[in-house]
């Protein structure tokens, strides 16, 4: 049913991604789908990488590691922005279209009051693209 699964990855907070990565691996194996890991980084030096190129290199290494886990074909795509905090939603929408993803799997936080002011990114992607969107809550919030 799904050919390309897109997974937005924040290398600085990889621990929060684990449930989403696990879901992605299962889905990819089940549908025999490709996985594209998408990274959005600042053009300025940051905690993970000092240049967008370094970020891409690290994301590639990450994707290869993930491939050892699930065995499905992987690719990466990195977007660099002067203001990643503000541009995140637009870049995710752009990425969904550019990698032709039919499923987006995203880690998300539990619902909270601030969502009214700063809406979640997954909702935005679902509103603006044709892809299916799977929002994965953190494991400790699931029980």
């Amino acid at each position: 049913m799904f050919n390309t699964i897109m997974v937005p990855v924040d290398l600085a907070h990889i621990e929060t991604l684990e449930p989403a990565l696990a879901v992605t691996a299962d889905m990819a194996k089940h549908h025999n789908a490709r996985i594209c890991y998408v990274g959005i980084t600042a053009i300025t030096p940051g905690s993970v990488a000092r240049t967008p190129e370094e970020y891409e290199q690290k994301l590639n290494a990450f994707a290869e590691k993930r491939k050892e886990v699930h065995g499905q074909p992987v690719s990466v795509k990195v977007y660099a922005s002067a203001d990643p905090t503000a541009d995140l939603d637009d870049l995710l929408i752009k990425a969904t279209k550019e990698v032709q993803a039919d499923l987006v799997v995203m880690a998300t936080h539990p619902p909270r009051h601030l969502d009214a002011l700063i809406p979640s990114h997954g909702g935005k992607v679902a509103t603006h693209t044709q892809a299916s969107v799977f929002l994965v809550r953190p494991t400790d919030a699931q029980d």
């Binding site: 990565l21 030096p45 240049t51 690290k58 905090t85 541009d87």
Partner: protein, 571 residues
């Protein structure tokens, strides 16, 4: 659901693994990263109080907040005591250290100018193959709006008129043999043509190479050390060639805290004082009373629009507002040129440029000045002002300039804005002086400083429309300063991160508005602005270090178009 990713994920943030010892690609194309074990954000505190994520540099955020709070409380509580202290501090600086500001500004302007013509101008910010993030128009609009914007609105008419008056008045000497007049250089008593020439040269001097030279030095040094050397985008990074790894400790914290202090108080006090002036304009034009309610509403409105702009980000918020600004300013300028004394303005641009260059050596001379009132009260004051603003403007300029070559950067930050200032000052100044000289109108000269622009427009056609555009421009210029300033303060207090959570930037924009209102109602705006200007002194030193850092940093960069083999070399 058993497949948990390998723990050895590549984001592992231990310094030994993150250190770019091998296999780290350079910024796009060849460049020379600095080899440091420091990981950006390693001193940051991340937490989620009340579900709001924060990611802050603990010490810089904490201490700058404390310093800011302390100064605000002191100023509010002890207004009568604090104002004279700040004032005497500042006048001590401009009187006794005026030469230092003048000398420093000369160094900045000269270095920026010379670099354009050296082979170092070929170095590309962000690496040899980097591509610009913003188009020319958007980029330039942001440079200009952040750089001077608002000042042009207030001084475009007032300053040429002021200098013209004092120059015509000639030299007067007090009993102690010291000049008491405020005329530039040797004045031009009774010589109308000479006084016009001198007043325009003096005005352009204060809005030309020197201010933009200071901005260019901060912007370029930060851009090089951030995009090419891989250090965080905060003021401390340009000290790397001198202090090395010590910039990650207290010397670095102090520089960053100082930058936050200067930027926040610079912005807050301009917001407060600017709102007073905008309200004055509204009262003059529409009869809206300029009382506290109007002022608070104006500040709230400006803060709200600035909030919207920073939520939208640099690309869709700040850039668009700056472009709107640019279009409005161009319309107003075009209008004044067409309905004003067009021929005088056209020939004036060339004459004033020649006059500026002719008088430049004498005007910028740091020593042996006889026009003490002018060189200390005007020039040194302006230099302290521009230099105190330079961390904010420079950091913002740096952030949007990746992908430009050093030459392109300097031409756009130094030459084009200087030319734009020449045209702007000539158009507004010539029109105002023409009204005085040829039409005998004295109302403009007699009007309050902030109303001189509107009074001048009144003697031109369609003044209802143009004055309205003028007010809107003033307000939009404030918004663009407020939003880019909040972004700058946020990234300094986040240890150079530009991807810190959104609530932080909202916090800074709100603080600016709140402090402006508190100071406006409680008093002390002018006092705190003076306090912010005194940071011009330490920042002159910071900028001199910046000059050294630029040369040192650029020398170790491969020049664009002539790729050299990469060497594992540090600065």
């Amino acid at each position: 659901m058993a497949t948990i990713p390998d723990d050895k994920s590549p984001d592992d943030k231990t310094p030994s693994e993150a250190a770019p010892s091998e296999g780290i690609p350079a910024p796009e194309g060849a460049a020379n990263l600095i080899d440091t074990d420091y990981v950006i954000g390693q001193d940051n505190i991340t937490a989620s109080p009340l579900g709001i994520n924060v990611d802050l540099h603990g010490k810089v955020f904490l201490f700058s907040s404390i310093v800011i709070l302390l100064f605000v409380i002191l100023t509010l509580a002890l207004q009568d005591q604090m104002e004279p202290i700040f004032n005497s501090m500042f006048s001590f600086l401009t009187t006794n250290l005026g030469w230092f500001f003048l000398l420093g500004a000369n160094v900045f302007a000269l270095l920026a100018l010379v670099l354009i013509f050296t082979p170092l101008g070929k170095v590309r910010i962000g690496g040899a193959d980097a591509t610009p993030d913003f188009g020319y128009l958007g980029w330039f609009s942001m440079l200009f709006a952040a750089g001077m914007g608002i000042g042009l609105m207030f001084y475009g008419v007032a300053e040429p008129l002021g200098h013209y008056g004092t120059a015509m008045g000639g030299i007067s000497v007090g009993e102690d043999g010291v000049r008491t007049d405020w005329a530039p250089l040797g004045a031009a008593a009774g010589d109308q043509a000479g006084a016009i020439d001198l007043s325009m040269a003096a005005t352009i001097f204060h809005w030309g190479f020197h201010p933009w030279g200071a901005y260019a030095i901060v912007g370029l040094s930060l851009a090089i050390f951030s995009f090419n050397k891989g250090l965080p985008l905060t003021m401390r990074s340009i000290f790397y060639p001198i202090l090395g790894e010590r910039i990650w400790g207290w010397p670095g914290h102090v520089i960053d805290i100082l930058a936050v202090f200067a930027t926040l108080f610079g912005l807050t006090t301009s917001l407060g004082i600017g709102a007073t002036q905008a309200a004055g304009g509204l009262e003059y034009l529409f009869g809206i009373p300029a009382n506290d309610t109007t002022l608070v509403l104006l500040i709230l409105g400006i803060t709200l629009v600035a909030l919207g702009s920073i939520m939208l980000g640099v690309d869709k918020g700040v850039q668009r507002l700056s472009q709107i600004n640019m279009v409005l300013a161009a319309l107003l300028l075009g209008f004044v040129i067409i309905v004003g004394p067009t021929l005088m303005i056209a020939t004036g641009v060339v004459d004033n440029l020649v006059g500026y260059v002719t008088h430049l050596p004498a005007l910028s001379m740091p020593f042996g000045r006889e026009d003490a009132n002018f060189s200390q009260g005007w020039t040194a004051f302006y230099w302290a002002w521009w230099i105190a603003w330079s961390p904010f403007v420079g950091m913002f300029i740096a952030r949007v300039s990746r992908g430009r070559t050093v030459r392109e950067f300097l031409i756009s930050v130094l030459l084009i804005p200087t030319l734009a200032s020449v045209v702007w000052m000539t158009a507004f100044g010539t029109t105002a002086i023409d009204q005085v000289v040829n039409s005998g109108i004295t109302e403009v000269q007699d009007a309050a400083l902030e109303l001189q622009l509107f009074t001048m427009l009144e003697y031109l056609p369609l003044s209802a429309i143009t004055s309205f555009i003028g007010i809107v421009l003033v307000i939009v210029f404030f918004i663009t300063s407020s939003d880019s300033g909040s972004l700058v303060i946020d990234s300094i207090t986040a240890g150079g991160k530009v991807d810190a959570p959104k609530p932080q930037r909202i916090f800074w924009a709100l603080i600016e508005g709140a402090l402006a209102i508190a100071l406006l109602l409680g008093g002390g705006l002018a006092a705190l602005q003076t306090a912010a200007l005194t940071t011009g002194l330490p920042f002159t030193l910071v900028l001199l270090v910046g000059c050294y850092a630029i040369v040192k940093g650029l020398m170790s960069e491969p020049r664009s178009g002539k790729p050299e083999p990469r060497k594992a070399k540090t600065v």
